[in-house]
Symmetry: C2
Subunit: 140 residues, 2 copies
């Protein structure tokens, strides 16, 4: 089931119903649509959410850089949107995506790889691709 972008008026109306925090952000959780794997957690401002809904490509807001962060722009590991769901408080969004390659900057499929176990933190997945390979586009 491919994502169908809402028209401009509908996007605007929905985004007006979102409760952004004092910094103008909401939390976004990305989940692989078919396997259910939780891939990453990041942030969106109104522009990032608007672009995501309009283009069907997930766009976050980078708090460190203070700019829109089009996921995969540098690494090629894009997230194609399948569905976006606001929570009951409308201050968090779950994006169901089709993740190309890996979501994590460490080269792992998911960012949530540090399991809190009786022996301490355990890395339960290994990188599928090296950081050099992942970000080579950056240096092109």
């Amino acid at each position: 089931m491919a994502y169908i972008p809402p028209d401009t008026a509908t996007r605007t109306r929905m985004i007006e119903q979102v409760r952004f925090n004092d910094a103008g952000l909401i939390t976004a959780v990305a989940q692989q649509h078919d396997t259910g794997e939780v891939l990453m957690l990041a942030w969106m401002n109104a522009d990032a959410l608007e672009e995501t809904l309009r283009t069907g490509r997930v766009c976050y807001f980078s708090r460190s850089r203070g700019t829109l962060w089009r996921k995969g722009e540098t690494s090629g590991q894009v997230q194609t949107l399948m569905d976006a769901r606001l929570d009951c408080d409308r201050d968090a969004v779950l994006v169901l995506v089709d993740q190309k390659g890996v979501a994590c900057h460490t080269g792992r499929r998911s960012c949530f790889f540090n399991a809190m176990r009786p022996q301490g933190l355990v890395e339960i997945s290994q990188p599928l691709i090296g950081a050099d390979e992942l970000y080579k586009h950056k240096h092109d």
Copy 2:
């Protein structure tokens, strides 16, 4: 596979590695361990995370009340911990849980029920239990 609590020293060591924000909090995402359903997003401070890891019952920090929020304490809808996983930045935690009943205060299984669709926000699930029933313990 039942959850095995780490001992006190291990819990302390792991929690020291968590990067809490300026308000002393990390974002927590709860996912039903077997179905993969993302249930809710909330916050934990160090005490909430410590209690969660120690007891195997998920405890959040309520930003509105400024206190620990033992999930299900009022409603009976407890979350039994199966695994806890920090992300790459160690500022977010994914808790895999066995959710008793419903996670959402609206009586829905998941808080993420407002789908952003071409026709606008669409509620894709209905309450399984009424708020009166859910919080009747509160008034006992």
